[in-house]
Symmetry: C2
Subunit: 427 residues, 2 copies
Amino acid sequence: LQLDQATPDQLREWDNQLQQDYEAIVAKKLSLDLTRGKPSADQLDLSDALDGILKGNYRAEDGTDTRNYGGLDGLPEAKRLGADLMCVPAENILVGGNSSLTLMHQTMLTAYSFGLNGAESAWENTIEPKVICPVPGYDRHFTVCEQLGISMITVPMTAEGPDMDAVEALIESDSSIRGLWCVPRFSNPTGVVYSDKTVERIAKLGQIAHRDFRVFWDNAYAVHHLDAQAPELTSIFAATRRHGTEDSVLQFASTSKITHAGAGVAFMAASTSNLAGLKQYLSACTIGPDKVNQLRHAHFLPNREALLEHMQKHAALLQPRFAAVLKALEENFADTCLGSWETPRGGYFVSFDTRPGCAREIVRLAAEAGVKLTPAGATFPYGEDPEDRNIRIAPSVPSIEEVVGAMEVFVVCVKLASVRRALAAQG
Amino acid sequence: LQLDQATPDQLREWDNQLQQDYEAIVAKKLSLDLTRGKPSADQLDLSDALDGILKGNYRAEDGTDTRNYGGLDGLPEAKRLGADLMCVPAENILVGGNSSLTLMHQTMLTAYSFGLNGAESAWENTIEPKVICPVPGYDRHFTVCEQLGISMITVPMTAEGPDMDAVEALIESDSSIRGLWCVPRFSNPTGVVYSDKTVERIAKLGQIAHRDFRVFWDNAYAVHHLDAQAPELTSIFAATRRHGTEDSVLQFASTSKITHAGAGVAFMAASTSNLAGLKQYLSACTIGPDKVNQLRHAHFLPNREALLEHMQKHAALLQPRFAAVLKALEENFADTCLGSWETPRGGYFVSFDTRPGCAREIVRLAAEAGVKLTPAGATFPYGEDPEDRNIRIAPSVPSIEEVVGAMEVFVVCVKLASVRRALAAQG
C-alpha cells in the first residue's frame, strides 16, 4: 500500500478489499482490550506471598510498631526499597501510600498552592504558571495540570527523550515556566529511554529556569525492562548534584507494576528542602501512610537483587506480548508510509503514529470490530492530538493469542482508515 | 482547697506543702505519657489476624481482582462495612485509603478550591469563607482549615454538643460561613455525645445556611463506647433526609481505632451529589485506594455484630484506664473550684478545664515531673486557648499503673498551679 503514489482506482480497489477483510473481522464478534497499562493476573500472582508475609511480626527494624499511627517519612527498610528502585540515597526517599500519582498530585498541588520552599515559592503567585509536557505523554500527568488550572505547553518526544532544544528555548524565553513532566525510562507511551545527553541537559535546567521550576521525573518503569540488555537510565540525581541543581528535580516511582498494582507502595526522591516542603503539606493531610504494607514490601523485596530477580519474572510474561505487537507492526508496516513506532525494550506500551488524521478513525473502527484501544488523543493535553496520529497500544493484560488477534484487527483498521483518508484527500 | 475563700496565709501554707509534694514526685524521675489518642499495643493485637486473612484469595464478591488498579468507590463488601459503622445505606459510602483525615482534607480542599457541586460552588469564590469550630475540639481539624487559609470561628461545646444557639446565630448573621466541624459521638476531647435535639438542629442548618455550607461530621468514635449503656447517636443521615438537607452533611469514619491505627480503611458517607463532587477531584489524584486492605477488613469485620463484638474487646482494655483517670479527678476535685470535666462513656479522651490561666502552667509542671500532656491550647484553633483552661488527657496507651501514677502527678500539678495563681491574683 504505497498510498502516496496510488491512483484513485487503486485506492478504491484497496478500499473494497479492506472493507471485506474488515467485515469478516466484525463478523467474528471479538471482545478484546488493548487499553490498559496494567499487569495481568499472571503478573499479580507473582506477589501473592505479600498477604501473610509478616507472620504476626509487625515490628520494623527500628522497633516501630507498624500497626500504629505515625511515620510521615516511611520505615527505614521501605526507604531502602525506594532507594534500590530509584538508585538514590535512602535519606532522600519519602515513602507514600499506594499511589505515586497521588504523590505527584500532592507535590504539584504543594508547589502550586502552598510552595515547596515557603509560601512565597507557590507557583500561583505567578500570573500564569506553565508546565512543559512532552507529547505523546501520560494522560494522568496532563489531568493533574488541568485540574489545578496549570497551562500546558507541549514539546515533541524524540527517540532520545523530549526535544531538549525546544525545552531549553521555552525556559529561556518564558519566565512563567515552572515544570516539566518526564517518564524517563520506557516513556509512556513511546517506550524510549532518555539518552545520557538528555538526562544531563535536564539536570542542568535548574541553572537557567526560575528558582521554583521543578522537573517531575516519573520513573514509573525504572526496573521494567523486557530484556537484560535494555538501556539503563543515567542517574539524574547524581547529575543534579554535580550541577548544584538538586532542588530542581522531583523523582517518583512505585511498586504498582512490581507487586500488586493497586496495593503497592509509592516513593518520592528529592532534595532535603523539597522533602521538607512536601512534608509540611502532608502533615495536615494525614498522620502517615500504611506502614504495615511498607513492611510487607520490604520483606518481599529485601534488596536490589531480589527486586531485579522478581522483575525478570514479569519480563518473561510481558516479553512475548510485546513481541506479538511488534511482529504484527513489522510484518505489515515496515518500510510503508502507514505508520511509525519505536521498539520499546521495557515499560507497558507500544506507541504507533498513523498518517495524519487517521488515529481517531482507526480507534473507532477497531472498537466496532470488538477491539478496544485507548481513545485517540489521550496521549495529549486536553485529549487533543493536533495531527490525530498517535495510538497507544497496551498489550500486558490480554493473552498472547488475544494480542495476536487484536493486532490482526488493528492492522486492517490502520490500512482501511489510511486508504479512505487518502481517497478523501484526492477529492 | 477552697481557694476563693482562702487567706493569703492559707494559700502560702498550701503552696509550701504542695511544693514539697511536687519535689517528691520530681525525685521519682518518672517518664509517662498521656498525650496520644492512639490504641495501645494490646488493642492492636486484637486485629493481628488481618495480615494473611485472605489466604491467597484476592477476589472481591463481585469478582473484582483487588490486586489490580481501579475502584475509586470501594469494594461492595467494604462499603457495607462502612455502612455498618456509620449506619447509612452502603450506596452512600465511599471507601478511602488508610486515613479519614485524608478524606476530610481532600473533601474540604475540594469544597474550597474546586467545588463539591461544580466549579461555581468553590468556597474560594466567596471573599472570606469561614468555618465554625466548637471548642475545645480536635487540633487536626483546625490544622486543615489553617493550611487552606480558611478562617475559623469558635463556639463553645456544651454537654449536649456545640452551643446551637450560637451556631444558628452565626449562620444567620454571616453569609460567608461555609462549614462546621463536629465529632458527634464521644467528642474529641470532651467525650460528650451530641443530644438528639442537637443532631436535629444540625440537620436543619442546611435550611438556613448558604447552599455550599457543609457539616464535617467526623464520627471517629462511632462504635467506641466503654460500656454497653453509653448513649447512642441519633442518625443525622435520616434527619437530613427528613428535612431535605442531605447535601449539607458529610460524614467520616475509619477503622483506625478499630483494627490497626495506621493501616485501616477510611470511609465517607454523603449524598450522591457530594460523592460525585469528591470523586471528580479524586479521579485526578489516584487510580484508587488499596482494595486488598479493604477486602482484609471486610473479611475481618463481616457485619455489624462482628464489629460490635470486636469493639467490646477494646472497651475491656480501655475502660479501666478511663476509670483510673476519673477516680483521681473525682477523689481530688469533686465539689472543688479547681476544675471541671465531663465523664466520657467512650472515645479516647478526658477533657479537664482548670481555673482560668492555669492550663499552660500545669502542663509545664507535669512535664518537669516526667508526665507528658498534650500541649495546652492544642484543642483550640491556632493553639490559642483564650482562657488557658483546657487540658486533654489521653489514657489509652499507658498501662493502668502508669495512668494511676501519671494522675497522681497531674493532681499535684493542678493544685500547685491553682494555688500559685490564686496567690498571684491576691497580689
